[in-house]
């Protein structure tokens, strides 16, 4: 499993070796990157993402619990019908 994940990441990021350069004079958000305020944006978006993921994980667990209860319930009802 860890091997699978490692392989995936290696294959995805092998493009790192192919950096290109260009120095045109087109206006970009360079100042924002200089004074570091862009990190605030990254932090905000990461917080939102974290919230969404926590919500998804909670839902996942809740549904897992429901499935487990359902299975136990079915098991009991099957047993009861067997006895009677």
């Amino acid at each position: 499993m860890i091997k699978k994940i490692a392989l995936l990441f290696i294959s995805l990021f092998s493009g790192l070796l192919l950096f290109a350069q260009d120095g045109d004079k087109i206006e970009m958000a360079d100042t924002m990157r200089q004074n570091g305020k862009i990190y605030v944006v990254v932090a905000v978006i990461l917080t939102i993402l974290a919230g969404i993921f926590l919500y998804l994980i909670r839902l996942d667990r809740k549904i897992g619990k429901l499935e487990k209860e359902n299975r136990e319930h079915q098991f009991i009802t099957k047993k009861q019908s067997h006895v009677s």
Partner: protein, 231 residues
């Protein structure tokens, strides 16, 4: 599907997408400028939609072959989440277009008129409307087996219609949308190696997020049908 490792991969890839997508250097291009970073978000929505619709139609065909209602549930949920991603792709595209396509010399009303006629937008809108009709059609039939069969057949039609409406016709006509002469976002002239390094992980990450949501919805739906059958 109950394995957990791909969910961790999804979280890692999306965290990487947001961080690297906002911080890594990108090509300097006129007009688009920093908004080129939208590639990691807007384009990924469409990729994710296409992948989810493909899985949906596979399950629709499966249902027609084996008449197993589980395939019907899977097909429906993949289509619904695909539609959600499509709507997200459409609305993010609308925001992006209003800042990069609008003609600064004419009024916003006039430039909106030009943008709204764009064949790519109309094609995408038609494709999404056909999928909306899929949901309407589905929920209007109360008999379970008939609903599953009719909606599986309609799903195949809707998927087939995706090809002329979002793949073929927009490529034949002039469009403001990039990628008219090839594949948008896969063309080496559009993005370079450093963008591809974020873009491919982003596509996989967003798609896994979609599949994750689908898997939750499917499990919930199966539980629901079970309790309906038991009571």
């Amino acid at each position: 599907m109950n394995k957990w490792w791909w969910k961790i991969v999804c979280i890692l890839l999306l965290v990487y997408t947001v961080t690297a997508g906002l911080l890594f250097s990108v090509p300097r291009k006129p007009i688009i400028q920093e908004s080129i970073r939208n590639l990691y978000f807007h384009v990924c929505m469409w990729f994710c939609m296409m992948i989810l619709f493909t899985i949906s139609v596979v399950h629709a065909v499966k249902y027609l072959r084996n008449n197993n209602l589980k395939s019907d549930i899977l097909s429906r949920q993949y289509a619904v989440v695909g539609i959600v991603f499509g709507v997200l792709g459409y609305s993010t595209g609308a925001i992006w277009a209003s800042f990069t396509w609008a003609d600064p010399n004419s009024s916003s009303f006039a430039s909106f008129g030009a943008i709204a006629k764009d064949p790519k937008l109309i094609g995408a809108a038609i494709a999404l409307l056909i999928y909306f009709a899929y949901l309407v059609l589905r929920d209007s039939i109360s008999d379970i087996d008939k609903r599953a069969r009719v909606s599986a057949v309609y799903n195949i039609f809707a998927f087939a219609f995706l090809f002329p409406s979002i793949w073929i016709i927009p490529r034949l006509l002039d469009s403001l949308h990039p990628g008219g002469q090839g594949n948008p976002a896969l063309n080496p002239q559009d993005i370079d190696a450093r963008m591809r390094m974020v873009f491919y992980p982003a596509v996989i990450g967003w798609t896994l997020l979609g599949v994750w949501i689908v898997s939750l919805k499917v499990r919930l739906q199966i539980l629901k049908e079970k309790t309906v059958l038991e009571s």
